[in-house]
Symmetry: C2
Subunit: 342 residues, 2 copies
Amino acid sequence: MPATMSDVARAAGVSVMTVSNVLTGRKRVGENTRRRVLAAVDDLGYELNLTARHLRAGRTDTIVLVAPRFDHPYFGELAARLSKRLERTGRHLVVEQSGASREGELEALSLARLHLYDGVLLSVVGMTPDDVERLRTTVPVVLLGEQDMPDRFDQVRMDNVEGARLATAHLLATGSRRVAAVGGSTSGRGMTFVRTLGWRRAHEEAGLPADDALVLPAGQSDLADGREAVRRLVREGTSFDGVFAFTDTLATGVLAGLAEAGLRVPDDVQVVGFDNLDASEFLVPGLTTVDPGHDEMADHALRLLDRLIDPSPGAGAGTAVEPERVTGPVSLVLRGTTRPAP
Amino acid sequence: MPATMSDVARAAGVSVMTVSNVLTGRKRVGENTRRRVLAAVDDLGYELNLTARHLRAGRTDTIVLVAPRFDHPYFGELAARLSKRLERTGRHLVVEQSGASREGELEALSLARLHLYDGVLLSVVGMTPDDVERLRTTVPVVLLGEQDMPDRFDQVRMDNVEGARLATAHLLATGSRRVAAVGGSTSGRGMTFVRTLGWRRAHEEAGLPADDALVLPAGQSDLADGREAVRRLVREGTSFDGVFAFTDTLATGVLAGLAEAGLRVPDDVQVVGFDNLDASEFLVPGLTTVDPGHDEMADHALRLLDRLIDPSPGAGAGTAVEPERVTGPVSLVLRGTTRPAP
DNA sequence: CTGTTAGCGCGTTCAG
DNA sequence: CTGAACGCGCTAACAG
């Protein structure tokens, strides 16, 4: 049975409140009593119960990032960024996993686990806009994700169409004519669709045809899916001389597939990814990729969340904050999987 | 102001207890009242306050993994494994970050954040055995980490010496004679030291000299450190024809460095990593690496934690559990960065 | 089947 | 500077 604050109080011969004051340091306490209290704390091995404090305080000073999966590097890097920023204000980040499915995400919310935190950064991949519309919660939520959601919530996303356009345009400008869209999709509304849109737009702008046979969907296992996409192109004899992979992880699989097929990068096939993961610079050859403005996105996400958590200190009540939808600035990072621009 | 259970009770014209019973489903409730309650819940947008439930219940059904950094792939993969197992028993995993430093780890503990969870899987990299010895907590803790810690706590670790020996022995058996130990250290007691020990042992067993000039330390940024290690070897004219990188992430950097230097893998230099990350299979060429038995380690960690959380249901009280120290089974995964065994 | 009582461990309020 | 009472929101135990 762990010791409670009143155990400590009794042992030190003071009241519970004095113990609390000593521990929080909020009020001045006489040096004598202070030492007696600390001695008792040490003696009993007392440990503060944060659960109780949180209930009392009504806040936890903790933000949660709900990511699709723990083992997706993009979210690991995002979490690290967010964590660093939150530490500056004495708060904490914890990460939970939704399972990358509609059900997992809905459960993450309905289970009210979110109330354990002062705010939620929810990465949406499985839920439909309709699900989001129906979402009822009093917890401050900012959505992260590439599919446009109802404007009931703030949302931070990458500039997907422009990023995809940039990537594809670069491939076309450096000589590729048959650019596969690995991870793409010709329907739906999610990330896969909008990046496919950018791929198509680049072709239009260049006055070149975009062949839907080059749009290859991915599943849940990006690395293997990227490799499999190349295997399939080769197996089916579809000609291609460029790949726009919708994530760097897919691109990593693509590079493996190309090597396996004996295709040289960038001589036979050029490759561009999307995300600019830490590791992408270190692939061989280095991966040309779209950088989605990680730092800006992290800044935006926390700014939006903070104004929900601390509702307009200046303005009066009833000043409902208008949900915002912000977009990170994309840029192309040129490395070895593409040829130099002519 | 979010609605509370008693708001719901009042609106439905029942007692708070009845609301609780409806929501938990633990007791039978009349169909009429049940519907009235649910209507009121919906009406008020009531959301359960888990903090209060946790305080009341004395547990949270949540385990925390304290990892050095969010953006380290090894821990992302570990978290995914642990999470999958915990879901089977209706529990949750959350991940926190310690900052890979002694201070960060100590704070993670002293802040008593741990009381928010039923158990803690603490990855130790910065704390010294002395720190651990001094650690006082009533929270169930299992240590993860490669440095041997005092046996006050359970500990799960890889078989580092044997893994390193296997990796190095394979390099020597396939013709390498000057094997760099990237990430190594000739002093200390941590992971870097024990794997260096294995590197040395393999040389002894093969009757070959181990040159300390080939032991290159790493810093905090594994990818860049791996590349830098190669740059340094080349710059200083130290001859080498093999690399044992102490993590797959370091190995990724090493491969980038070798490519940059125009050295062919595995013809000029063979490379072996350690960890068998998901991505390692997809590097070009595929990374030969030591697999530390991920699944077994995850199983052990949770088994040890569970017996602390649920102290010996069969045995009586006072049956203190003896701390265990278990080790995952290592094996070598052969891929393209090494030549076939002769 | 439903309501009452009591308290989880802490911190705010107001006296002393 | 210190103490006593009350309540944060929920649930176990017992009444009725």
